[in-house]
């Protein structure tokens, strides 16, 4: 309990903020919170990991049945089962990250109202935890890919280039939604619906080439579409169309890019603006 008799200087206390308390502390706290949450889910119970894998696998099994036996979309797409599983797992990350983050700040009310720490850690820890889960699930996906005869490609190494824009987008939405949900508690409810819409508005269970013209423009405006499409090319099927080919030039993708940038800017701006007042509004 020794206190260094250092010559302490008065420093202005800046109040609560998104990043307050130093970068070092921010990252340590972010890491620690994500890791503990991750450990809790996966190693806290015997079936932890099995359960978390059950969800995408079951969904995968159902969709696979429906779209290969009933609708037969799958039969036109090379490596459809693997592509489907890969897409489900990838979208699962987005859904878990944003869906978990929406209510995260409100849910952590106890610590937000009673202690000072960088507020941004809360939604970002949810996204980071989802990223860890994705990492674990990707092991299974790669096993499936090899098992279903996808030939290993050097482009697999480009997976981080898929994750980066997806992760940034997820984090930005997590910030935006968690901050808005403090003010408007129905954001969480609305987001469930929007996320489901996005699930169908992204080429996950269907390939882009069967989408009719008008709807195609809408789906192309979804920032997730080019990410998922590029992922398909790099990871599963090098002969699939790239986002640029599908869109027939860069112009249709501008809307997606603008939305992407808009969400990122809004996420940072809204969270920063709300952070100092979050404790009061809870």
């Amino acid at each position: 309990m020794s206190v260094k008799p250092a010559n302490l200087e008065l420093r202005e206390v800046s109040g609560p903020s998104a990043l307050g308390g130093g970068r070092h502390r921010f990252f340590e706290l972010l890491w620690l919170m994500s890791v503990t949450e991750f450990k809790r889910t996966f190693f806290g119970t015997v079936l932890g990991y099995v359960w978390s894998l059950m969800r995408p696998l079951l969904l995968f099994a159902v969709l696979l049945l429906v779209f290969t036996k009933i609708f037969r979309i799958g039969s036109q797409v090379p490596h459809y089962p693997v592509l489907l599983l890969f897409n489900i797992v990838l979208f699962g990350f987005f859904q878990e990250g944003t869906g978990g983050a929406v209510a995260s700040v409100v849910g952590q009310e106890g610590i937000v109202r009673k202690t000072q720490f960088p507020r941004l850690v809360i939604p970002l820890a949810v996204v980071l935890t989802a990223l860890f889960t994705l990492g674990l699930n990707m092991i299974v996906v790669f096993a499936f890919m090899l098992g279903f005869g996808v030939t290993p490609m050097w482009t697999w190494l480009l997976f981080p280039l898929i994750l980066l824009p997806l992760g940034v987008f997820t984090a930005a939405l997590a910030m935006l939604l968690s901050a808005l949900n403090v003010r408007f508690r129905d954001v969480a409810i609305i987001w469930v619906v929007v996320a489901t819409a996005l699930n169908y508005g992204t080429p996950i269970i269907y390939p882009m080439k069967i989408v009719p013209g008008g709807l195609k423009q809408v789906i192309l405006a979804n920032p997730l579409t080019p990410i998922f499409q590029q992922a398909r090319v790099w990871m599963i099927d090098p002969h699939a169309y790239s986002p640029l080919t599908i869109a027939n030039g860069p112009v249709p993708l501008i809307a997606a890019a603008l939305i992407y940038i808009g969400v990122c800017v809004a996420g940072v701006w809204v969270f920063n603006r709300e952070a100092p007042r979050i404790a009061e509004q809870l």
Binding site: P16, T36, R40, I111, I190
Partner: protein, 416 residues
């Protein structure tokens, strides 16, 4: 932004204001926001008004005030949980904010993991937090439970861990909000020792409490907040007296109790005495305990009865008593009359902290409440802890007899 200032000031608060805008109509959903066209109205609550003070390095500084006086808001601004609307706060050194003990503990994690997480939350590095684990657990006397999840801890164990965490955090400035009323008697003693130690060290403590005996015991200086402003500031005992005066002077409607206007009868003073008639705030288990209170009537009240009850730290009402005016005299009080209660209480209280509640009824009818104050006096009973809530006397003896029938080989006698 760093400025050079005399190093002896640890906390400098200048011109801090905080106003809460309380919407007259709460709009907390997007749906309502979109469907409500009128601008929602606000009522302004001035929690802090142009507050300025300084706390010197090494000081044990108390902040007291009634509920709603702004002390929690101030503490939260000091702790960077709330942003001030105006003014600035400057501090010298690292701060360990403890608005409440055990904040940020995760029940699903073990003590080991929680110490690390909590340490980082308080601004330690992970390595630092881990290196303190031993010291934290040792002080909390929880070494054997290091790998037990907190959900399996008792509340006493949690409090010990949290308090220990705070003590070991090594921050130069500690913010402490009402934590003394926790733990068993021996741990309380340990906490008291630490408080004395901190009091005499170069660490600075801001201590918010309702407990005037604690203020007098530990604080070098204290500040009384009232309506968001400083009502009194100075030596701890003087401020404690101002607080008590403020508490008893005021009609209960303005503070703790929810009754409108000035009560017909108010409590002027309430205290405990030892056998020698000396006022006390701590009493040894089983020692003679005398009780006193003075009320003043402001209007004519028929058939007044005066009640007091003691709650223990768990919020359990341990005992209570109701007193009426003596027979023979008129069963009514007139404006300006004072009523004095006094006498002995059989002290069967177990060690711990007790809160005294007070109420007054008219016409001996429980439904006619004249006064109700849930928190008029705090006291601590110390001594060896027994089982249960109260320590009842017993006269039970065991005896062994020879040669008799097997059946009454051992008899247990009860007297009285």
């Amino acid at each position: 932004m760093t400025t050079h200032a005399p190093p002896q000031v640890a906390i400098e608060v200048s011109g801090v204001e905080k106003t809460f805008r309380i919407p007259t109509q709460r709009v907390d959903s997007l749906k309502e926001r979109l469907t409500t066209f009128s601008q929602p109205g606000y009522r302004e609550l001035h929690a802090l008004r142009d507050l300025s003070f300084e706390v010197e390095r090494g000081e044990f500084f108390g902040i007291v005030g009634r509920n709603g006086s702004g002390k929690s808001t101030l503490l939260k601004i000091l702790a960077s949980i709330y942003a001030a609307d105006a003014g600035r706060v400057r501090m010298a050194g690292r701060l360990a904010p403890f608005i409440e003990l055990g904040v940020g503990f995760n029940n699903e994690l073990t003590a080991r993991e929680n110490v690390e997480l909590n340490g980082v939350m308080m601004g330690l590095t992970r390595r630092d937090a881990r290196s303190r684990l031993g010291a934290v657990l040792e002080f909390a006397e929880l070494e054997e439970f290091v790998d037990l999840k907190l959900k399996n801890y008792s509340s006493g164990m949690l409090v010990r861990l949290a308090f220990s965490m705070m003590i070991q955090s090594d921050a130069e400035i500690l913010l402490i909000d009402e934590v003394l009323a926790v733990g068993d008697a021996s741990f309380q003693q340990k906490c008291a020792d630490v408080f004395y130690e901190i009091r005499d060290s170069s660490r600075t403590v801001v201590f918010v409490t309702h407990d005037m005996s604690a203020v007098e015991q530990y604080c070098h200086r204290a500040m009384l907040l009232h309506d968001g402003g400083i009502r009194a500031m100075g030596p701890a005992d003087e401020v404690a007296r101002s607080y008590l005066r403020l508490n008893f002077e005021q009609a209960p409607g303005e503070g703790d109790a929810d009754m409108g206007g000035m009560a017909d009868i108010t409590l002027l003073d309430v205290w405990l005495e030892d056998g020698g008639g000396e006022r006390i705030t701590n009493v040894e288990k089983g020692a003679e305990l005398r009780f006193g209170a003075i009320f003043e009537a402001h209007r004519h009240v028929d058939g007044p009865s005066f009640g007091f009850a003691f709650d223990n730290a768990d919020g359990v009402e341990v005992t209570g008593f109701g007193i009426s005016l003596p027979e023979g005299a008129p069963d009514a009080v007139e404006p300006g009359q004072r009523i004095r209660l006094g006498g002995e209480i059989e002290n069967r209280l177990e060690p711990g902290r007790y809160v005294t509640k007070c109420w007054v009824h008219r016409e001996h009818n429980l439904a006619n409440l004249v006064l109700h104050s849930p928190h008029v006096l705090d006291f601590v009973v110390y001594g060896k802890e027994g089982a249960g809530v109260v320590a009842l006397d017993h006269h039970i003896a065991a005896s062994v007899k020879d040669g008799a029938a097997v059946g009454d080989g051992i008899s247990v006698e009860g007297q009285r």
